[in-house]
């Protein structure tokens, strides 16, 4: 996306302080993170702890959480700034892992954790020294979150948890997992608990995932096995029986923040592709000046510009305490599909060079394909939208 359109898109939405934050983050990432990405990607591993610690030291984690819980008391817009800066990075293994930590698990502790959970998990997480991951999905429970089979049996002082989670971003790096488990008498949407499970707890075994299309340096865990793991009551997030509700509620704002990252990725890809095609010439003219190419890229720019306003509208509603469920589902759907399409188009327009695994556009295509699948697939967003509009068929 052109720089001017991006500036125009942001006009009126961000404060000067947030603009400064963006500058700081941009500079920090450009110096400390981006230069290392090719090496990290080829090693298949990112130093997530170092990345988060560096952000923590600069006071850039958990900005929107209340001061008394370790945050900075800023608004959600500060998290949008971080999300957009993460989207500027050429590895979404970094972007997604930081997001899981700072925007998926940390918020649940900040909002639904008791004082001990905050001390044990949130404060250290916001320094970047305690890594958080999200273990919800299971072999039999992906879209259908309520179908989780992992069971938490209430015992004296807490729960004994058994079951197997699969597909956990940063699961290989994490120190603690937010685990959704059913109570023996679960009846959706009630009868679930959300528990913080330290990786060091007895009975926890973590294994790597099989190779995937993208997210190859995200430390994805293929399985997090819990065998009679004891979790104290104080590490429960939300009420006894309210785990699923707490979880589903957290997804709503997070999806808007993630959409902002997705759209930043799309905008970056368009910008890079445009620059490349301006240089590349065939049949005596630069490819980027061909009308077909100009129109194709311009259409995608328009789509991104519009989707950005939907995302910002959603953030605004959320910050203002309004109902943002519909916007959340809509922008997750629109941004995931759009970023997938932009990545695919850009990959194609890079020609054969884009086929090289190490090329940024190739990685972006492979990483970005996950948006339509994870944290609520496109189809689940369609289902949610139909339901919110009152069109449910049951």
């Amino acid at each position: 996306m052109t720089a001017t359109l991006t500036t125009t898109a942001r006009a009126g939405w961000f404060t000067e302080a947030e603009d400064r934050l963006r500058e700081e983050l941009t500079e920090h990432f450009a110096r400390q993170v981006e230069p290392h990405i090719p090496a990290w990607e080829s090693a298949g591993e990112i130093p997530l702890r170092d990345i988060l610690t560096a952000l923590g030291e600069r006071g850039m984690l958990g900005l929107r959480f209340p001061v008394e819980r370790g945050g900075a008391g800023h608004s959600a817009w500060s998290h949008v700034v971080l999300a957009e800066c993460l989207g500027e990075l050429s590895s979404d293994s970094v972007g997604m892992s930081v997001t899981v930590h700072n925007d998926m698990v940390a918020p649940m502790i900040a909002e639904a954790g008791g004082p001990e959970a905050v001390e044990r998990h949130l404060r250290p997480a916001l320094t970047g020294r305690h890594l958080l991951a999200h273990a919800v999905s299971e072999p039999g429970a992906g879209s259908d979150v309520a179908a989780v089979a992992t069971t938490a049996v209430p015992v004296d002082g807490g729960y004994r948890v058994s079951g197997t989670k699969q597909w956990v971003i940063a699961g290989m790096y994490a120190d603690a997992y937010a685990v959704l488990a059913r109570l023996p008498e679960a009846k959706p949407p009630f009868g679930y608990v959300l528990l913080m499970v330290p990786r060091s707890a007895e009975g926890v075994t973590v294994g790597p995932a099989d190779p995937t299309l993208g997210m190859r340096a995200a430390g994805v865990a293929g399985s997090v096995r819990l065998d009679e793991v004891f979790v104290p009551q104080s590490d429960r997030l939300g009420g006894h029986g309210l785990g699923l509700v707490t979880q589903l509620r957290q997804f709503e704002p997070e999806r808007i923040v993630s959409a902002c990252r997705a759209l930043a990725i799309a905008a970056r890809l368009l910008r890079d592709t445009r620059a490349r095609l301006a240089e590349r010439s065939t049949f005596g003219e630069s490819v980027g000046s061909r009308q077909e190419i100009v129109f194709r890229l311009a259409r995608l720019e328009a789509d991104i510009a519009a989707a950005r306003q939907l995302a910002y509208t959603g953030i605004d509603r959320w910050v203002a305490g309004g109902d943002h469920r519909t916007v959340s589902a809509a922008v997750k759907l629109r941004s995931s599909r759009l970023t997938r399409r932009v990545a695919r188009e850009c990959l194609h327009l890079y020609g054969a060079q884009g086929q090289l695994t190490e090329e940024g556009v190739n990685r972006a295509f492979r990483d970005a394909r996950l948006f339509s699948i994870s944290t609520g697939s496109d189809e689940m967003m369609l289902t949610a939208l139909a339901r919110l509009n009152g069109w449910a068929d049951d």
């Binding site: 999905s137 190779p211 299309l213 993208g214 049949f283 194609h348 060079q353 086929q355 394909r369 994870s374």
Partner: protein, 396 residues
């Protein structure tokens, strides 16, 4: 499903008109070959296992050797002009069968071997004697090296690889990349500029045969997202020319004619890859359960699959017409471009949708749709990009 047919008995009634003759392309019996292909795949399960084709060193030569020994290439090869239709429809059968083996991956080097390198060599009278025969037995293979990292891709006018005379030998210097089967080839068919008309009487691109192990030839396998381990980079540093296949000024012309055949065949392969992933997705949707019922029970899922199946049928019809035109001896460049463009579009849509329908499982390496998506994006470039096809369609 109801079949459209004439009522039983009607056509045999005395005095009734002769039964209608199908005008659809094909009509050449291929059942025996189909059975042969099924037997080959049953006997070669280990060689065709998908994970072997996810490595940087897939068993290309082993496959070509086995397929050659089993007579698969000869079955799809015309012994004379009159045999061409039979051979073409057997080639269709071959690529259709391989689209469903090893997540479709082994079909790529097979097509490059048969329908790019061997086919091209067979059209060149200067090709060394016996080379085509040995290729048909799967004992030797070649790669067609045109594309260059610097510039020459869609537009071959900017070719920088060049042939020169060095005392009494011709040598080539330059670099090629994304050359299918290059890491496994015995011979390289190199398109090189001939600025001094050392290969003939004219300047311009010449097509040259080089031995892949000759001095001055360095090859490496590229690390790519699709066609894993199947394409290579070639550096030529005063590498000796073995044979001039087409002299300066004639190289490109030869290739243009060849590409018509190649594009239609690649379109067959892409269509059948799409068909395979749609079938796989439909099958998987019967087993995967969410919210208490099978995925296939959702109308939205069925409609998406149904839409894709219609697109497969449509593209297959278009591509089979291309085969008919080839069989009749002339498929226009623009129609070959229609086939390649449509099939690339289909494959990318079908693979992306099929991946989506499998959720996280589809994101996993080893899933057929994931492989087809990676390969499909490469196929939209190989042998002429979508945009080049559109330019040719526009030219008519």
């Amino acid at each position: 499903m109801t079949e459209l047919s004439t009522a039983p008995g009607l056509s045999t009634a005395p005095g009734a008109p002769a039964p209608p003759v199908s005008r659809a392309p094909g009509g050449i019996p291929t059942e025996v070959f189909r059975k042969q292909l099924a037997e080959f795949s049953a006997a070669r399960g280990e060689l065709l296992a998908a994970d072997r084709w996810e490595s940087q060193d897939p068993p290309v030569r082993e496959l070509l050797g086995a397929a050659g020994a089993a007579g698969l290439f000869r079955a799809a090869w015309a012994v004379d002009e009159a045999d061409r239709p039979r051979a073409l429809w057997h080639a269709v059968e071959l690529h259709t069968a391989f689209a469903r083996l090893g997540n479709g991956a082994p079909g790529a080097p097979l097509l490059t071997h048969l329908d790019v390198a061997t086919r091209l060599l067979a059209t060149l009278p200067a090709a060394p004697a016996g080379l085509v025969e040995r290729a048909l037995d799967g004992r030797t293979t070649a790669a067609l090296a045109v594309t260059e990292p610097g510039g020459a891709g869609s537009d071959l006018a900017s070719l920088t690889t060049a042939v020169r005379r060095d005392k009494d030998t011709l040598t080539v210097t330059g670099e090629k990349w994304f050359i299918s089967n290059a890491p496994y080839a015995d011979h390289l068919l190199v398109l090189a500029d001939d600025p001094e008309a050392v290969t003939g009487s004219r300047t311009g691109p010449a097509l040259l045969l080089l031995e892949a192990t000759a001095p001055g030839v360095a090859r490496e396998t590229l690390d790519t997202s699709g066609h894993t381990g199947l394409t290579g980079r070639i550096r030529l540093d005063a590498a000796p020319v073995h044979t001039v296949l087409a002299p300066g000024g004639h190289g490109l012309l030869r290739l243009m004619r060849h590409w018509i055949h190649e594009r239609v065949m690649v379109a067959v392969r892409m269509t059948e890859l799409a068909s395979a992933v749609v079938d796989h997705a439909a099958e998987a949707a019967h087993h995967r359960r969410t919210f208490g019922s099978a995925l296939i029970a959702n109308q939205q899922v069925r409609f998406r699959l149904a839409d894709l199946s219609a697109q497969v049928l449509e593209t297959r019809a278009a591509v089979h017409h291309g085969i008919r035109l080839l069989a009749e001896g002339g498929c226009p460049m623009a129609y070959a471009a229609v086939c390649k463009y449509r099939a690339a579009e289909l494959l990318r849509t079908a693979a992306d949708e099929a991946l989506q329908l499998s959720g996280a499982d589809g994101y996993r390496t080893g899933h057929p749709a994931q492989r087809a998506l990676r390969d499909g994006l490469g196929l939209a470039l190989a042998g002429g990009t979508d945009e080049l096809m559109l330019l040719q369609i526009d030219r008519g």
